[in-house]
Symmetry: C2
Subunit: 133 residues, 2 copies
DNA sequence: GTCAGTGCAAACCCTTTGCAGAAAG
DNA sequence: CTTTCTGCAAAGGGTTTGCACTGAC
């Protein structure tokens, strides 16, 4: 049942629901919001008995991100975080632990974005609040 | 004259004004605001006849950033940008060209930061508006 | 049987590090 | 002379790529 809706979600996003894609989508897209790295996904997948590789995980995560099922978050030059919450929202980065937490869009009010000088369309507004203990 | 004030600026920041440090500081801190990468600094420096190496440029830029003379900007997994404008401000990232432009702090009004749930102190608020042609 | 998907290993880019030589006081 | 700085080359971390194998229709 869940598997069906996950597979459908992939099809709707324009991705063929293959074995690992469904496996990773089930891991990532059917539970609660989480921030994962490619490495953590490989570990979790293997714990669950899913046989896969780093390359396939990167391929899959990038496909998911490219079609809007995941959001990429860049906080520093370390690993890229993938956010399963694709709603418009912001992030708090805890520098000591290297972890992220979500900040719902309502928490911050940002005005003036429409007035910025630009050519083209805005594809994203990334806000990261860095905190240190 | 300029050299003296640059050297003094380094001393004030707690850095001993050595040959490349003064050379790079002169390149970066005495003109107008710019966004550079380690690689671009090496190129520019060599064009100006300054003999240096990638390692020294990284060392120097990191020292400058650590003591507040430059700001690091992370936009993606590519090279780190160093911003010579250390005032509180935000950025527009032009995805097609891979370039950054500044957005003065007054351009955006962000309210609600004080109310976010956190432990510790806020060490930075990074805002990157991504635009694509 | 065909063709996309997968996994391994190697390549890749950017950054940092180890160490010997150079420079500054 | 001593100590720090510099530069080269090698190592390092994270991601992507090339290519043969697998698996689904």
């Amino acid at each position: 049942m869940t598997k069906n809706t996950i597979a459908e979600k992939l099809v709707t996003a324009g991705i063929k629901p293959t074995r690992i894609r469904v496996a990773l989508a089930t891991m990532l897209l059917s539970g609660k919001d989480q921030h994962v790295t490619a490495d953590s996904v490989v570990s979790i997948a293997r714990q669950k008995g899913i046989r896969t590789s780093v390359a396939s995980v990167y391929n899959t995560l990038n496909q998911f991100a490219d079609c809007g099922l995941l959001k990429r978050i860049i906080v520093d030059h370390g690993p890229i975080f993938f956010d399963t919450n694709t709603d418009n929202h912001y992030h708090v980065y805890h520098e000591n632990s290297g972890t992220l937490t979500d900040l719902p869009a309502e928490t911050l009010q940002i005005t003036g974005i429409d007035e910025i000088p630009r050519t083209g369309t805005i594809t994203g507004v990334d806000v990261i609040i860095r905190v240190s203990a």
